[in-house]
């Protein structure tokens, strides 16, 4: 009787789990097959004769290619560098310096992060960038993304910095190292996994960001891939499935590579702790 009940419970569990899993895997399967199918539709079908014809078409669209391999890369890498560098420095200061209410600052940051780049703030952000004369520049986009991502990045980094025992810095002090030297020799190598996580996270956010470049950029030559994907829509506004699929796959690959690299090299985690 117990065995029957146990078996039934397992069956129900696996069926439910499979349903959920398929719900999330279907789009991924589609992304794996559709780009190689000249007659791709919205259903998941294994192509009869796989071909690279869709990619050929995509590469003929110079606007979209430049958007992906130049503009998106510039904006994502730029914001990634700024966010990682400044978040590390800020987190180090917040963790080590004797500032009254520094915890309040840290937790306040997380709250703000969702506000700053939110849709609600788009009008003031547009005005600000306009006044700064940064409309239609990569720098404008990079700065707005950095501003939006930094608070959460600082929060994540702070956990990593907090996990460095103070005695590490003290022993370096006694050894004769200067504060900058301690930061570079001791702190940075130890929080490097955190920096990598923040870097990937910042990169992915900018890479997939649509609204900010869409609003702050004017000329098509500067649009990133997230905006350029609309050039694979017909004039009536419906996507050309074959080309959108191929372009989407190209769009995904850099992020995947980045994630796999960081995961292999440092281990992807959102908390500090010394892995020795």
């Amino acid at each position: 009787m117990r065995l029957v009940r146990y078996t039934l419970a397992r069956i129900v569990f696996y069926v439910t789990a499979s349903l959920f899993a398929s719900f999330f895997t279907l789009p991924l399967l589609w992304l794996a097959f559709a780009p190689f199918n000249e007659k791709a539709a919205l259903s998941v079908t294994v192509p009869d004769s796989p071909s690279l014809a869709n990619f050929g078409q995509v590469f003929k669209n110079t606007f979209a290619v430049r958007a992906l391999f130049q503009n998106s890369a510039i904006q994502a890498l730029g914001a990634m560098l700024i966010v990682t560098l400044f978040a590390t420095l800020a987190a180090y200061a917040l963790s080590r310096a004797n500032i009254r209410g520094k915890d309040l600052i840290s937790y306040g940051l997380v709250l703000f992060s969702s506000v700053v780049t939110g849709t609600a703030a788009m009008v003031p952000i547009f005005l600000l960038i306009f006044r700064l004369g940064l409309i239609n520049t990569h720098l404008g986009v990079i700065l707005v993304f950095s501003g939006g991502l930094l608070p959460a990045a600082i929060f994540i980094m702070r956990d990593f910095v907090d996990s460095i025992p103070r005695s590490y810095e003290e022993s370096a002090l006694v050894a004769g190292a200067s504060p900058w030297r301690i930061f570079m020799d001791i702190a940075v190598p130890i929080v490097r996994p955190g920096m990598m996580v923040v870097a990937v996270w910042a990169f992915v956010n900018v890479w997939g960001g649509f609204l900010i470049p869409f609003i702050l950029l004017r000329s098509p030559e500067k649009m990133p891939a997230a905006v350029a994907i609309y050039s694979f829509y017909t004039e009536a506004g419906t996507p050309i499935i074959t080309l959108t699929a191929a372009y989407s796959l190209l769009y995904t690959i850099p992020v995947l590579i980045l994630y796999l690299f960081v995961n292999w090299r440092y281990g992807f985690r959102f908390f500090g702790g010394i892995k020795s």
Binding site: P165, S171, L173, A175, G176, A177, S178, D185, K275, S276
Partner: protein, 364 residues
Amino acid sequence: MASVTFEGVSKHFGSVKAVHDVSFSISDGEFVCLLGPSGCGKTTTLRLIAGLEQATSGRIDIGDREVTYLNPKDRDIGMVFQDYALYPHMTIADNITYPLKVRGLGAAARRKRAEEVATSLQIANLLDRRPGQISGGQQQRTSVARAVVHKPQVFLFDEPLSNLDAKLRLEARSFLKHLQQELGVTAIYVTHDQAEAMALADRIAVMEGGRVVQMGPPLEVYRQPATTFVANFLGSPPMNLLRVRLELTKQQAMLVGETFRLQLPQISERLKGVVSEGEALIAGLRPEHLHMANDSDSWSIAGEVYAIEPLGPEALVTLKVGDSLVTARIFGDEPPKANVGEKAYLLFEPERLHLFKASGERIP
């Protein structure tokens, strides 16, 4: 190599007086232990010497230089931290020679020095490993190696043995003592373990509440504790302290406890002028100075057997005397045979008796 001098040094954190008006001087090549319970200010004192804390007032000298306001790097010290503070991303060799790297020594010279130091500390075979891949004892040696690598004037140790297991701790203790004597460097060693302090130090400074209560050679501090605090802190098990009342008559002095009366003939001389009739005092007896007996004697304390704990070469016998417990260390191959609740007596020689005022001060 250098002396270390404190002159009226205080360190306050807000309203907390971590170290208060501490003065002492440690001579060149001496091994001094700062001993006390947690929160007594011993670690703060060490950090003041290292320059990791800055004194609120007073003056600190290392050798013939005043260092009160100098940065740690200008004090020429080597320090071993409680958690060893080895950098997990560097090899053992890089860890050991980090002070030399900071001083701008070339890679080849650093490697040579790392091999030298590591050989003398028997960790030469570990130079290319990382701290996570070596044992606790080896980490401790690495940390010592890093502290000695640039030949500092003063060694500072912040409870370096407390993270080792009991067996390794004894081994590391002998090793540290040997090393310090071999190098002849002034060493200041913080610990809360009285046995460690006794074993290692040339002199012990016992700290309580931010002050040095007593400073002297281990045996002197052990034999003549200045206060009940020191008496209670040194020794394992600690000194038995019993409340007594003094009865003075013309001919004799009598100590009256809850269950005993002790006549003090020959030592009454030392009490004259110091204590008065009827004064409450504290009598102190080291457990190893008590012997067990079945009959009372003029120098004995009566009580009921509370517990007998055989430890091998000795046994701890605890008697319930009135409301307090008195522990004796009884040496011998066989633990004494007695049942819980049985009446028993603990004998001692009169000159073994310590007397303290109710405030805790020793009566000489």
